[in-house]
Symmetry: C2
């Protein structure tokens, strides 16, 4: 649950909803928005995340906004003179997933655009969240701050492997198909005299093989490469052997 | 190095610079910005990240923008019919740190606001980056996409422990100070009759101790608690024992 405390601009409430939707967050609460609620301008910047805005709940103050929550996190860039658990955005997202998994309700407080949360707001939180970012230029706007938390929330449960090959809708060529192409290429290069003198031929062929074995090759790419060899060989046949030019 | 390919709105170039600054990224290249370059409007949204805009370099096309780079990543939400290494934003940031550590130059391409990168742009990349986000509402704006990458870039080298206690500018009370308070509290409660009947007293005292031992307590908080006990006991003394009310 995202709680915007005294947000100033309705446009920012809309971009927050957009950011939430990207990260699969739905519940939005507004504490005393400066210009009242609802505001058309929020819908204009929400980029389709209308359902979040329509379900948003309005509260007069932080205590009433978090009254039914079991845990309250507060995003808080500045140090406070209190002892309270502090989380990076990533660890906070993991905690929020864990809390959610126990069917408890957690709120994350975000302060107004300019000033951030006041001490009284922070005193309602049991955990602080701080974003590790460049201290020389720490200037997140409200929607960016929500975006990073929403991104971490989604990522904390995201099964996508961090590294993979993009192979959607394409067929990777078999080693046999690749070999067929290499055989043909080498035969053409033999015919052209490119692989001479003979004592250098094994190393040159190995270099070529290494190049084409570097990664997966698709069937479509192999077809294109066959076409390239056909076209280049045709030129050589038209022109005759290179040394006769 | 962030490369914005055919960005449309100068405002977005400014917010991208702001996002970059948050993540400690500095080098910005612009490929054929729609409205030309420079544009005052970019400076107005950069929130002080002026140095990034002033150092931004202008290029007519993607190949010239990446000509001096050793690696090119492309952010690309849609599947393409090619075989190419694919990274999450987090893994891409780790790769970029590793590449940077070898003193090689890497570029990350971001497409125009509406359409994203074209196939010809993507063909200039050796690695694709995809953000794992809610597929039901995947709608990052340009600055948010850069923000997440910049955040991951910073986080990939950030030593902040994910979980810690906020203890800045405050002194945690010793166990002896805490014990002194508990002794006094229990004495006052004994005097008030709160800890009767006697057979329940040990469990009640244990519960109280457990409550106060739950986390670190600061010296300031202990001073406040002593004051609370003093004040409440004074009330009791004024009013006499509760059963006499």
């Amino acid at each position: 649950m995202i709680v915007l405390v005294r947000p100033q601009l309705a446009e920012n409430i809309g971009t927050v909803a957009r950011a939430m939707a990207n990260g699969g967050l739905f519940h939005l609460r507004l504490v005393a928005p400066r210009d009242g609620w609802p505001q058309d301008r929020a819908w204009r910047t929400a980029s389709g995340a209308d359902a979040i805005l329509e379900a948003a709940q309005l509260f007069p103050d932080v205590p009433s906004a978090v009254a039914d929550c079991h845990r309250v996190f507060a995003t808080c860039p500045r140090p406070r003179h209190i002892v309270v658990p502090l989380r990076t955005a990533r660890a906070a997202a993991e905690d929020l997933r864990e809390i959610n998994g126990r069917a408890l309700r957690a709120a994350v407080l975000f302060g107004p655009e300019r000033a951030g949360l006041e001490n009284d707001d922070v005193a309602c939180a049991d955990t602080l969240v701080r974003y590790p970012l460049n201290p020389a230029h720490m200037s997140l706007n409200l929607a960016q701050a929500v975006m990073i938390l929403a991104y971490e929330w989604w990522t904390a449960a995201e099964p996508t492997p961090p590294r993979q090959l993009q192979t959607h809708a394409t067929k990777v060529a078999t080693k046999g198909q690749l070999e067929g192409f290499l055989d043909r290429l080498v035969a053409e290069l033999d015919a052209s005299g490119f692989l001479e003198p003979a004592h250098k031929r094994p190393g040159m062929v190995r270099n070529l093989r290494h190049w084409f074995e570097r990664g997966e090759v698709t069937e479509q790419e192999l077809r294109t490469l066959h076409g390239v060899v056909t076209e280049l060989s045709r030129g050589r046949m038209r022109r005759g052997r290179p040394e006769e030019d």
